[in-house]
C-alpha cells in the first residue's frame, strides 16, 4: 500500500521497477542493477493517495506491517516490516528475525508464538488520544488543499497535523516531499537527529526472545 499523495505518478516507478529503468537508460548503474534484482513484483501493490490505510490502522511510519489471519482478524499489529536489507545501512536493522517470524506464522498459523494476545493487540492498536483523530483530519484537509491547487495553504494544516501527532513520520515526510522541508523549518535528517539518529528511528519489532533463531 503506497502511502503517496502524489499517487501513481510518485509510487509507480517503485511498483514496476523494470519498466521504470527501461524508460530511463541514464540512471546510475547500481539503480538499474537493483531494479533488475527486484524484478516484476509477485504480490498485490495498491496505491493509497489519501493515506487511508495509515488512517484506518493508526500507522505512523513506513514500512509498517500488519498480519491478518484467514478470518480477517489482526494477529500482529503495526510494526516496522522490512522484508529485505536494502535500508540496513540507515536503520542498522536486520530483516532476518522478522522474516523468520513471518515464516513461522505462515507455517503454524494462529498457534505461532509470534501471534499476539488480544489484550496486547488492543493496547497496541487503539489510539485513545482524541488529538490523533484531529491530526488525521488536519492532514486530510492539507492533502485536499494541495490537490485542489493550493499547496501554500496546505502547509498550515500539515503543520497542525504534525503538532497534534508528533509521532507520525508519515505526516512529516509526506508534507516535506510535497513542497519543501524549508516550509517547515527543519529537515528529515534534523528530525532523525533529534530522536537520537537513524539507528533508533525505527523501534524494532517485538519478537519473543525464545523464538530467536540460534546461530
Amino acid at each position: 500500500m503506497a502511502q503517496d499523495t502524489g499517487g501513481a505518478k510518485d509510487a509507480g516507478p517503485w511498483i514496476d521497477p523494470l519498466k521504470y529503468v527501461a524508460a530511463k537508460p541514464d540512471l546510475p548503474k547500481d539503480t538499474i542493477e537493483t531494479a533488475k534484482k527486484i524484478g516484476p513484483l509477485s504480490y498485490t501493490v495498491l496505491i493509497d493517495e489519501k493515506h487511508l490505510v495509515s488512517k484506518l490502522y493508526n500507522m505512523v511510519n513506513v514500512p509498517t506491517g500488519v498480519w491478518i489471519n484467514e478470518q480477517g482478524r489482526i494477529v500482529r499489529p503495526n510494526e516496522v516490516a522490512f522484508v529485505d536489507d536494502r535500508f540496513k545501512n540507515f536503520t542498522g536493522m536486520d530483516s532476518e528475525p522478522y522474516l523468520n517470524a513471518l515464516k513461522d506464522w505462515v507455517e503454524k498459523g494462529d498457534k505461532s508464538a509470534y501471534v499476539m494476545s488480544e489484550d496486547h493487540l488492543r493496547e497496541k492498536l487503539t489510539a485513545q488520544d482524541p488529538s490523533i483523530a484531529q491530526a488525521s483530519a488536519e492532514f486530510g484537509l492539507g492533502e485536499q488543499l494541495y490537490k485542489s491547487g493550493h499547496p501554500t495553504q496546505a502547509i498550515a494544516h500539515f503543520k497542525e497535523a504534525q503538532r497534534l501527532n508528533p509521532k507520525s513520520w508519515n505526516y512529516k515526510r509526506q508534507a516535506y516531499a510535497l513542497t519543501n522541508e524549508k516550509d517547515y523549518g527543519t529537515t528529515f535528517r534534523d528530525e532523525v537527529q533529534k530522536i537520537g539518529g537513524s539507528k533508533v528511528y525505527y523501534p524494532p519489532p517485538e519478537l519473543p526472545a525464545t523464538e530467536k533463531k540460534q546461530n
Binding site: 480477517g72 493487540l121 488525521s136 484537509l141 485536499q144 495553504q153
Partner: protein, 170 residues
C-alpha cells in the same frame, strides 16, 4: 479608560443579543475522503449548515424520522435539541429549504473536523464508530486501486493470510 471599556462591553452585549446573521458561502466539504462543492451553504457562529440535498450528495446520509441514516447505520438526533441540527426556512414561493448542521452532527458522532476558513473547506474525519472498529481486532476493510487502476478490496483476500505492508516513495 473606564468609559471605553464599558462601551466595548456594551457593544459585545448588543452583538450577542442580535439574531445571528448566517453568512452564505461557496463551500467544499470532504467526507469519506471525497470532496464535494456544495450548491449553497451557510456559516453561522462556527456552524456549517448545508441543504438536505447536499447532505445526501456529499455524505449519502439522509434525515429520516428515526435519525440521520445511511444504509443500516442510523444516528438518532436528540429530540430536545433537534433545532440545533435541522432548520427549515420560512416558505418562499414553492420552495422551503431544509438545512442541516454538519458541525453539530460531527460533534454528535465524535467526528474530527478540520477547517480552512480562507478556502471555505471542511474536512470530516473518521467517526468514532469507524475508529472503534480497530479495537474489535477485525481488520478494517478498504478498497484501493493497483497501478492499472483496478480496485482491490482487503476482504477479497478472506481465507488467506495477509501481510499488509505500507510503504512510500518519499
Amino acid at each position: 479608560m473606564k468609559a471605553s471599556m464599558s462601551s466595548g462591553l456594551l457593544l459585545i452585549l448588543i452583538l450577542a443579543t442580535l439574531p445571528a446573521a448566517a453568512k452564505e458561502l461557496h463551500a467544499t466539504i470532504v467526507y469519506d475522503d471525497t470532496a464535494t462543492d456544495l450548491t449553497s451553504a451557510r456559516e453561522d457562529a462556527g456552524q456549517l449548515w448545508i441543504t438536505s440535498a447536499d447532505l445526501k450528495r456529499a455524505t449519502r446520509f439522509e434525515v429520516k424520522p428515526q435519525g440521520v441514516c445511511r444504509d443500516e447505520l442510523c444516528f438518532p438526533l436528540p429530540k430536545a435539541k433537534r433545532e440545533a441540527f435541522i432548520h427549515k426556512d420560512a416558505a418562499s414561493g414553492n420552495s422551503r429549504q431544509t438545512w442541516f448542521n454538519m458541525i453539530a452532527f460531527a460533534d454528535l458522532v465524535h467526528q474530527p473536523v478540520a477547517h480552512d476558513a480562507a478556502l471555505s473547506t471542511w474536512y470530516f474525519g473518521l467517526r468514532s464508530d469507524q475508529r472503534r472498529q480497530l479495537s474489535s481486532l477485525q481488520a478494517p476493510d478498504f478498497t484501493l486501486p493497483d497501478l492499472q487502476g483496478k480496485p482491490h478490496r482487503l476482504s477479497d483476500f478472506h481465507g488467506k493470510k495477509i501481510l499488509l505492508v505500507t510503504w512510500a516513495s518519499w
